[in-house]
Amino acid sequence: MRDNSYAAVMARRNEIMKRALGLDYGEFELGGLAFDYERMMEKAGYSLEEVRAIQKETNVGDTPLIELKNLTAAARALSEPGKGARIFIKDEAANPSGSFKDRRAAVSCYFAQHHGYKGVVAATSGNYGAAVASQANMRNLKSIIVQELFDSRGIGQPEILEKGRKCEAYGAEVLQLTVGPELFYTFLRVLEETGFFNASLYTPFGIAGIETLGAEIVAQVQARFGRNPDAVVITNAGGGNLTGTARGLIKAGAAETKVIGASVDLSGLHMASDRDFNRKSFTTGHTGFGVPFTTWPDRADVPRNAARPLRYMDRYVTITQGEVFAITEALAALEGLERGPAGNTSLTAAFAIAREMPEDAIIVVQETEYTGAGKHVTAQLTFARENGIEVRRGDPAEQVPGKNIIIPRDPSMIRPKDLSMRDLKASYLRNALKNRPAGSPEALTEVETAFLADEIKETREGLKELLALARGC
């Protein structure tokens, strides 16, 4: 009989993954800490045209780009003369299961179907579960979704309860767990028992699926204005949304467009803590995922993560839970769009960043998500209050994640905080050096140096300086 203890299953992870992904990541390794990212994306992923065709088969993509005229007017009311960019939003809620995640699921399910897998498994508490279940149905695959949902009292996050319900509505088997990183252990056991495909968010398929989103934004802005957008703001958690969108922008010829990541500030809350679990009102799009995955992508459930945000990110800002709730309310009240709230993280940042940009500039928010019971400002703030979180109007600067949620007293108080790109890059380098295989030569090889410079979007000079910072000299 197979040993199914935690340690034994984790020790088998590589062989389980290899079978569940149909991919040998070993062939992309370049020695030391380097691997050939572009070759992995090319060889294992699909071209933009192929992805478009795959997504068309299951009605994914081609979502509307909506100008938010009233929110733009509000941003201008708070700006110096001549400032206040036009804000646009890509209405990804129009995808079959209600979010951009359908783009990722579409490609994974296509691959699984064409490689003879009978079903797909995804470890997710987010919209991705519904996306996988929905796309699996269209491709005649079975689906299993593994969620982290309850604390040890059996109390579930309303947002995740809704996501679980939606997966069940699509006929998925939904495994709902209490808090803890051992979700990955359960996930591995399911993959081993079923022989299903690992529809990970972090494979080349999962990232290639989002490239169409970036490319559509360029095409839609070009068609209306004959030019590229100036900035695209992207909610950042695991890094895939940002990586895929940015790659799509570049492939569509908008390499100069600024790529801005945004996360909800949940600093101080421990993501694996049973006690902290229900003290947050955002279950994704927050710094608890965004920062660790940005500074070390290879912590994911695949040997090499295809989501590598520092390769593309120009700026990374955080905003508070209360600010996102206020903007979600404003989106409904001013624009007639009831969406989010979690997906409105990037919109909240864009509302404030538009104030810094000229009036004729174009800033694009690249997603919306469906809203519903549990996934709504009223549901999430009611739940927060029931869990002892103080909800009040005030200055967002006074927020303490897990203690209070401050709805800004005035729209002018919605201001993102910049994270230091220098610190993020140095932190990535520290992690890369720490994870360098044992027995590597003391000095970095030429291949490793080139790899690291690409990984953090720096010149050789910039890399040298940041390596010194990372090494603490």
């Binding site: 203890s5 009223t378 909800v391």
Partner: protein, 101 residues
Amino acid sequence: MKVPKGSWVQIEQVVLRPEERAPQVPEDTKAVPLKLWVKGTLLEDAFVGETVEIETAIGRRLTGKLVAENPPYIHGFGRPVPELLSVGKEFRELIERSGRR
């Protein structure tokens, strides 16, 4: 209460006991077991609390403690949030005051 065979039910499994949990989890999490809930069709008549076998929505057979017969979805929209009710109006007043479009 006896639950008849063929009912849609929820079962509970203890995946890892506290002493089996991963070394890196924080103390509060390590103090409690990792539990799992899943729904399916009950394969034999049983009482709540008994160990039973179910067939899940995709046809897998799983074993666990019977905890509920067809549990309801309990999430809703909660209550309106007084702190948010005036946000739309405040944004509109801001636009009107500035006269900018």
